[in-house]
Subunit: 288 residues, 2 copies
Amino acid sequence: MDQMTDWSPFTQRARDWFETLRTRICTAFEDIEREAGSDAAFSYTPWDRHTEDDSEGGGGVRAVMKGRVFEKVGVNVSTVHGTFAPQFAGTINGASADAPGFTATGISLVAHMANPHVPAVHMNTRFLTTSKAWFGGGADLNPPIPYAEDTEAFHAAFRAACAPFDPGWYERYAKWADEYFFIPHRGVSRGVGGIFYDHLECAAEAQWDRNFAFTRAVGEAFLEVFPRIVRRRMGAEWTPADKQTQLEWRGRYAEFNLVYDRGTLFGLKTGGNVDAILMSLPPEAVWS
Amino acid sequence: MDQMTDWSPFTQRARDWFETLRTRICTAFEDIEREAGSDAAFSYTPWDRHTEDDSEGGGGVRAVMKGRVFEKVGVNVSTVHGTFAPQFAGTINGASADAPGFTATGISLVAHMANPHVPAVHMNTRFLTTSKAWFGGGADLNPPIPYAEDTEAFHAAFRAACAPFDPGWYERYAKWADEYFFIPHRGVSRGVGGIFYDHLECAAEAQWDRNFAFTRAVGEAFLEVFPRIVRRRMGAEWTPADKQTQLEWRGRYAEFNLVYDRGTLFGLKTGGNVDAILMSLPPEAVWS
């Protein structure tokens, strides 16, 4: 593949996967609500950003569920294309003021849980093209009240997802997550980490196949491990003090997403759907 | 005055005013709590940012009250000096990587009210020196449930404060507030405005006197009008739906402060006290 590659069939394949994964995750989360005696279900809201001349286009579907176990969970899939604003283009891999065109498809998920003993979680994977083409993504676990057993299970799942592809990836991507999911002004991590990867470049078809397989493995790992952790903790008793801990922790989470998160910035700068972009914000937060 | 002016006596005079104003405001707000049958009082927490060699120094006092009328109000005074980080220096009036030194003294106030019919409010005034010296500040009213009568009273107070100085200032500074206190990604104003001014430069002593007098007038106007508005609304009945409106509105307020507010950015970039900087965040917020 060279710079003349038509990426659209690849974008379509990635999109199909992200939408399939979304549906499987939503089903898995609704199953958990059933086990808790709730009939909560995701509601789906499509949005689009087409301009009349289709120079800016695409859209997505925002899925939100407010349940008994999942206080608020959002799963957004989107597939968009357009041109970056000149100043912003220079900050994006393979784009510039002279070559500002892009396509992006991805899935993004944030779950805020009712029970403070159940960790919140974030997962996002995406495929982007500019003059380059690459995958990126990650997942991190965000327990207001951490349990070593959960942290280990989460990391083990992603270590296993990385292993068949490159023995060095888990270590590198876990470190990247530790660096990325950090709140500098507080001097604290936002959670207990996971993995973060970006610019996993596709310069040849074999690389695309490998990187796409890895991105699918990340999604599968998430789908296997997170429901397991939820089921382990969802029955735990919690006190008002635990809830307060959770609400204060969510304040830190909102700070990270609004001040530092690149995905939030990317969305706001490219005219994405505000409700979809900010779906990551907690249902309720306090600042003391 | 030229660039060799020793600004420290002027900084001291400005600081004395900001601290006096702080004390008068805190007393006025505690009086309101008494009228509501509460014995809430401000608690004062000093903080400092001195390095051992005093190249970075100063500090401030954070005053916070959690009362019956004032759900959470913070009033911070700070007087700091140091050098800007090279990349940040270029973004500040009169500073550069070659001349990164600065001093800053100011007062900053944010009040989040228990009753959704009582508007939240922000007020901040400050005096800064780099190779230049200037005043800046402003105040804006942030009602979850707006009343035209309150908006008019608030604007009238600042119009009157501006009038003796320059007949064009109110219009210019009110417009600046409308532009500044705006949430681009939502396409909405964060409140009903007020005034915003910056780079009110002091190149001669007569300008310093005038600009300092104006800054005092802004403080006096705030002290006169805001308690009056609070007393007008604090007895109003409110419903759970009103509270929900307020909590959702506070989510927008947190978004503005964390994504766009220059004062927040300035504080975080200059190693200010995080609790003082983020004291503006609401005690509780929701995102639907």
